[in-house]
């Protein structure tokens, strides 16, 4: 019995340590469900990139990339110059397929809680092969009240809906 007890203690200690380490590394995040609905335009599927930018329009983090062919990333030139240097690890998890005109896409993204209510913005930028690039198709300021409801886009995006999860 003694042996079992000691194993139990060791295990709980180990778990405790493990959990505290994990929570030390990851900052508290919040999940949001997001739907992007595009306008009815002709042509190839649109590349949509969602990023967090600060008050001075500096990119902080890429949240979601719709479009998996890196060849076209350069079309979103402003973001690309940031993204190329940032070398953000593991973008596979936040990458999805392009959306065609009139179609929509639903995905879930995560935000650091410390980024909220600081005047940062969530930027949706779009580009279509052989067509236009909309740097600020849509920008949503990151505060708790704003991160729900429907927001109208100005470029290829008809609207975006966000829902805290």
């Amino acid at each position: 019995m003694k042996i079992y007890k000691s194993i139990f203690y060791v295990c709980s200690l180990f778990l405790l340590v493990a959990f505290t380490t994990v929570s030390n590394i990851t900052e508290p995040t919040k999940k949001y469900k997001c739907m992007v609905q595009l306008k009815n335009y002709e042509g190839e599927g649109a590349y949509v990139v969602v990023s967090v930018v600060d008050k001075n329009d500096q990119y902080l983090k890429t949240v979601q990339i719709l479009g998996d062919d890196k060849k076209w990333y350069a079309d979103l030139s402003t973001w690309w110059s940031f993204f190329e240097k940032a070398k953000q690890p593991n973008t596979d998890a936040i990458t999805g397929a392009t959306i065609a005109g009139g179609e929509r896409s639903i995905f879930v993204f995560q935000l650091n809680e410390k980024d909220l209510n600081k005047g940062y913005k969530l930027r949706f930028e779009t580009a279509v092969e052989q067509q236009d690039y909309h740097l600020k198709d849509l920008e949503i300021s990151l505060d708790n009240n704003n991160l729900k409801d429907k927001h109208e886009g100005t470029g290829y995006i008809r609207y975006v809906r966000i829902l805290p999860n």
Binding site: K33, I106, N165
Partner: protein, 730 residues
């Protein structure tokens, strides 16, 4: 010009698109393996596609916190985007328990770049336009090819009838073309359609949706929705779950032909949008063009791509042949004494005309060479020579269809001599029909004199026969023509042979002898091939049918003619003597590889090739019928025949002797006696091979025809055209 429009368009369309077509076909052949590779992925759970949608929704909702969407592809692989405590993201699932099967594999970069090249040549929109146009041209090429094939076969209904195998590259071009016409039309059409779609050239349809207002207020769980219960996984392409619990957010269900919006509380279909035809066609085009979801169709696409490459090759060969046959004249039509008119479909016949033209030019004669269609007045003509092939079912070849009419209309001022030479193949039922027609019409013209009772008809471009005629003709005109011994620029390879054995037998009628030859250097040949021997100081070669003896030796069987130059030359050779000859492959008279019944019929020295064949290892039942004059002559071959009977490679041997017990016992009588064997052979796709004199062949034909009639078999002609009757007669 109009009758050639399809040929010209077929040709120019291909030339103009050849580079892109080549690239597209090559990459297309590689891409055919993409759907095959995809289909072989282990993401398909057996019978999962028949599960009701309601069941899958239930499973997923229970297993995960949040379900965003569900997709089913052509391979019935099921993808879901979900969020849960264990697994999140998009991945392949097992629809029965909702568990994760595998991550979505990254797209294969190799195939991706080939696809990119295939549809846009790495040139983005410009490339897409090129590829789209090429695809459309391929469609036109296929259609013009079809029209040409219809013309060649002699009508739309005959398109499906047997194409006569004349062993030319045209044959394979036409046969393969007919076989792959439909896949190629599909490939080109769908390719064009997909390009048009990408270039936004398709007509824009207004999408109409039918909206129903829901009367029902009862809230029921998802899994009880009628639509979900009635729909199976294989019916859907995608299901999007409602974005929020808000009533305004619907389920969006994509079926193969429509999109439904489903109320998330009541399960009513709120809106139905039928896809426009353009979109359904797009999906169909995509699947047909890529082979998506079907290994079998992918293989058809692969074969078609390779076939396109082959067509480009064979088409080039045909074109080179045709262009090579273009003519240049030194003398004008009105000053020439010798007129050569050619009727040729692909230029093969024209080569003979050119040889004759060159020979006459060398002899300082004024010659004019032209197509039959360009027939006109020839004020100085003394000799008119018409060389023509026949197209299809006895029709004139493409450059001769106007000739007969012109011949009627054009007045001849000064009479001249006329000769007709027909080229053709005995495997066509209407052998040299057009040449015969011309000859008939010329006979009725008073100012055209012809000494021929019937035109000279040449089988399979036998140049020797043509050359002999030319020599005879020129001698009759009292001048000598220097006409090349061989037509082909390729010099035939001479082989040195050593005589290893010689046997001869003299009976009261003939002197016959056999020679066993062994090539000094190793040389491959088969029984039934021909050995060409040109005796010293002679120009023309004689052809002997050879039997291949087991030790790699050649067996020749020769009758000595008292004045025969060649037979005497050979007879004067002794064992260990050496002489040269050339072996000519004669595929039309080789022992059949597949037939189960083979009958060999020969008279006299015609037995030579059979002496080799009866020793060949085979599963077939082989009978040999031989007609000769005396018992004595049999002694020459007796040991070889008994040996074959003993080994079992020959199952039956019958001989008849025309000058022994009773007079006039001929080989055809042996057939009459053995009718059953003949019927059996003909009915079971067996082969009858005949070698010997032409008189014997004709008698045998008559006998076989009788047997066919007597036993209600298909006509003897059918067997002849089938290639079941092989002959090598002289």
């Amino acid at each position: 010009m109009l009758h050639k429009i399809w040929r010209y368009s077929h040709f120019y369309l291909t030339v103009s698109s050849s580079l892109f077509l080549f690239l597209a076909a090559t990459t297309g052949a590689i891409l055919a393996f993409k759907p095959i590779q995809e289909k072989r992925q282990p993401y398909h759970i057996k019978n999962a596609e028949n599960t009701a949608l309601s069941q899958v929704i239930d499973t997923l909702k229970n297993k995960y916190e949040e379900v965003l969407d569900l997709e089913v592809d052509a391979n019935y692989f099921v993808k879901a985007t979900v969020f849960g405590s264990e697994e999140s993201g998009q991945f392949y699932i097992n629809p029965f328990d909702g568990s994760k099967l595998a991550d979505i594999p990254k797209s294969n970069t190799f195939f991706e770049s080939i696809i990119n090249f295939h549809r846009s040549l790495f040139l983005k929109t410009t490339g897409r336009i090129f590829v789209g146009i090429t695809s459309f041209l391929l469609f036109l090429i296929a259609i013009t090819g079809l029209l040409l094939a219809i013309k060649r076969q002699g009508g739309f209904i005959k398109l499906c009838s047997k194409i006569i195998n004349d062993k030319s590259i045209q044959y394979s071009h036409v046969t393969l073309g007919r076989l792959l016409l439909i896949p190629i039309i599909i490939i080109s059409f769908t390719g064009t359609y997909l390009s048009m779609e990408k270039l936004s050239l398709l007509p824009k349809n207004k999408v109409s949706s039918i909206t129903n207002t829901s009367q029902n207020k009862k809230v029921i769980p998802f899994s009880k929705f009628t639509i979900f219960k009635e729909t199976r996984l294989k019916d859907i392409t995608k299901l999007e779950f409602p974005f929020s619990t808000d009533e305004e957010d619907y389920f969006i269900l994509n079926l193969h032909d429509k999109e439904l919006k489903i109320h998330q509380k009541t399960g009513d279909i709120v809106q139905t949008t039928h896809y426009p035809f353009v979109k359904i066609l797009s999906v169909l085009s995509f699947n047909l063009h890529t082979g998506n979801g079907s290994i079998l169709w992918s293989l058809v696409l692969f074969i078609s791509s390779l076939a396109i490459l082959y067509f480009m090759y064979s088409g080039t060969v045909i074109t080179i042949k045709r262009l090579g046959a273009k003519t240049k004249n030194k003398y004008k039509a009105d000053e020439a004494n010798f007129i050569i008119l050619i009727g040729s479909e692909n230029g093969g016949t024209k080569r003979l005309g050119k040889v004759l033209q060159q020979a006459l030019l060398k002899a300082h004669q004024k010659v004019f060479l032209d197509d039959l269609n360009n027939y006109q007045q020839y004020p100085n003509a003394e000799q008119l020579i018409i060389i023509t092939s026949t197209y299809g079912q006895g029709q004139p070849p493409s450059n001769a269809h106007l000739f007969l009419k012109k011949l009627e209309q054009i007045k001849i001022e000064r009479p001249f001599d006329c000769h007709v030479i027909g080229l053709g193949s005995l495997s066509y039922p209407k052998f040299c029909e057009f040449a015969k027609n011309i000859h008939k019409q010329i006979l009725s013209k008073d100012k055209m004199n012809t000494s021929q009772k019937s035109p000279l008809l040449i089988h399979n471009q036998n140049y020797e026969q043509f050359r002999n005629w030319v020599l005879e003709w020129s001698t009759s005109l009292k001048f000598i023509l220097d006409i090349p011994k061989e037509l082909s620029t390729k010099k035939q390879k001479e082989t040195v042979f050593k005589i290893t054995d010689k046997q001869n037998i003299i009976d009261e009628y003939d002197e016959t002898f056999t020679l066993t030859l062994s090539p000094v250097k190793h040389k491959k040949f088969n029984s039934g091939d021909l050995l060409g021997i040109t005796p010293p100081k002679e120009n023309s070669e004689r052809l002997y049918s050879i039997g291949s003896h087991q030790k790699g030796n050649i067996l020749l069987s020769i009758k000595k003619h008292s004045h025969g130059v060649c037979s005497n030359y050979l007879n004067n050779l002794n064992i260990d003597d050496v002489f040269t000859g050339n072996i000519q492959q004669n595929k039309e008279f080789h022992f059949p590889k597949k037939a189960k019944h083979v009958i060999l019929i020969a008279n006299g020295t015609g037995i030579a090739p059979f002496l080799g064949m009866i020793h060949q290892q085979t599963k077939a039942n082989v009978s040999l019928y031989w007609g000769t004059r005396t018992y004595q002559s049999e002694n020459l071959y007796k040991h070889l025949i008994t040996e074959a009977l003993h080994k079992g490679t020959l199952n039956k041997y019958e001989a008849t002797f025309s000058k022994e017990v009773t007079q006039y016992n001929y080989v055809q009588e042996l057939l009459e006696k053995d009718e059953k064997n003949v019927i059996n052979t003909l009915q079971n796709n067996g082969t009858i091979m005949i070698c010997g004199s032409i008189i014997m062949r004709d008698d045998v034909f008559i006998q076989l025809e009788k047997i066919c009639k007597k036993y209600d078999l298909p006509s003897f002609e059918t067997y002849k055209t089938n290639g079941q009757i092989l002959t090598d007669c002289y």
